[in-house]
Amino acid sequence: MSWQSTPTWHLDEATLRAYVDGRPLTIVGASVESHLVDCPECRVRLGELMSHESVDQAWSAIRAHVEAPRPSVAERVLRWCGISADSARLLAAVPAFRGAWLLGVLVVTVFAGVAALFSGDTGLTLFLMVAPLIPVAGVAASFGGDADPAHELVTVTPYSSLRLLLVRTLGVLLSSLPVTVLVGVILPGPIWLGIAWLTPALAGVTLVLLLAPILGTSVPAAAIGACWSLAVVSAARMHDPAAVVEPAMQLVLAGVLVVAGTALVLRYPSLDHLGSHS
């Protein structure tokens, strides 16, 4: 440090004290300031004359900023889309929104899609079986206590449970639907087949949410999965796997969706106990 142009003279205490009190005229103050910028010694002596209280308080705010975790990429993208900070944090904490889940969805869907492309009816059976169950499994995982690191936090947070439910379900659907729709649309056969599985998917999700306060999320999701798989396999045995999503079935499934959805909205206060059974 000795080579630096540290001044050879120093400010006396009276001048420093007057400076802290805001007393010297502009011109002398300016002179003090240009000296302080160059002189570490006088900066220290100035500090000794000052109250440290407000500076110490300011430090705690700085430390809070420095130590705050940086929002994850998903969270920042959500914030950028105009979603509030709270909701973004909740969405990003949905287990189904994480990388491993997304990768799993991608692999399963692409596998089923490729199978459908190359092996006709068997592949189509597989796709129809898997596609509607992905969102169902996603919702089940999002509200099960074991899969959610924010579960304890969520159960004690004074936040509208219906809103939380909808926000997180939306997160699951947003993270799993686009890929599945894309794969469905490029499948051989009529274009409606690619999106026909949406009705059973939504009916399944609604049923899981409805039953969750009584049975938890894993049991209904497993039961729905079993029933759906059975239906698809039976249809395939009768030489047309697409029969499970034909217009008549669509009507039945839409009926289930409407009834379950209505029941869900009517009894949503009991959703406070959501996930406490798993």
């Binding site: 005229l25 002179s31 300031e33």
Partner: protein, 178 residues
């Protein structure tokens, strides 16, 4: 780590590597004088405290952009004065600190005369003689390194007024120093 041995520039480089200890040391070295200098320009203690926070948060976030060619105190002050301006711009009715109030009191004490003589006496006495509103503009542009737009924002006067005052101040200083 023996942070006392490190130069300010070393601390900034350590901060670029997310070293919180380096930030703390930099804060200990510089927060007080920056706070005092801000307080002379803004009479609201809460605003001074906020600007101090903003300054060191900006230094932390921008540590990797620090070019080693400048002095750290000047760099920090450059951040602080601009943070002060952007804060003052957002709200009206703030009070300027003593250094920016155009006071006419000209009684320079004996000690202050000594100080002025030590520090470039000619410019000092010349500045003491020009009118206060010109002196304030000169101080913000020459000593704080602000441009005329920033000085205008800080003082809450039109940019054209700052420019014309600066012009007059230069003429007067030239006459005083001739």
């Amino acid at each position: 780590m023996a942070t006392r041995e490190l130069t300010d520039a070393d601390l900034i480089h350590a901060m670029a590597g997310r070293d919180e200890g380096a930030l703390r040391e930099l804060y200990d070295r510089h927060a007080l004088w920056i706070s005092a200098r801000l307080a002379r320009r803004c009479a609201d203690p809460d605003a001074v405290s906020d600007v101090l926070q903003d300054t060191f948060i900006a230094a932390w976030d921008g540590a990797s952009r620090f070019r080693g060619d400048g002095e750290v105190p000047a760099w920090l002050w450059g951040i602080a004065i601009r943070r002060l301006i952007s804060r003052l711009r957002k709200r009206t009715g703030f009070r300027l600190g003593p250094a920016l109030v155009e006071s006419d009191a000209q009684d320079i004490s004996a000690e202050e005369r000594v100080l002025l003589r030590l520090e470039n006496v000619d410019v000092g006495t010349a500045m003491a003689r020009i009118s206060p509103e010109l002196r304030v503009v000169l101080q913000l542009t020459v000593l704080d390194g602000l441009n005329t737009r920033e000085a205008a924002q800080l003082l809450g006067i039109p940019r054209g007024t700052v420019k014309s005052r600066l012009q007059r101040a230069r003429v007067m200083m030239r006459e005083e120093l001739a």
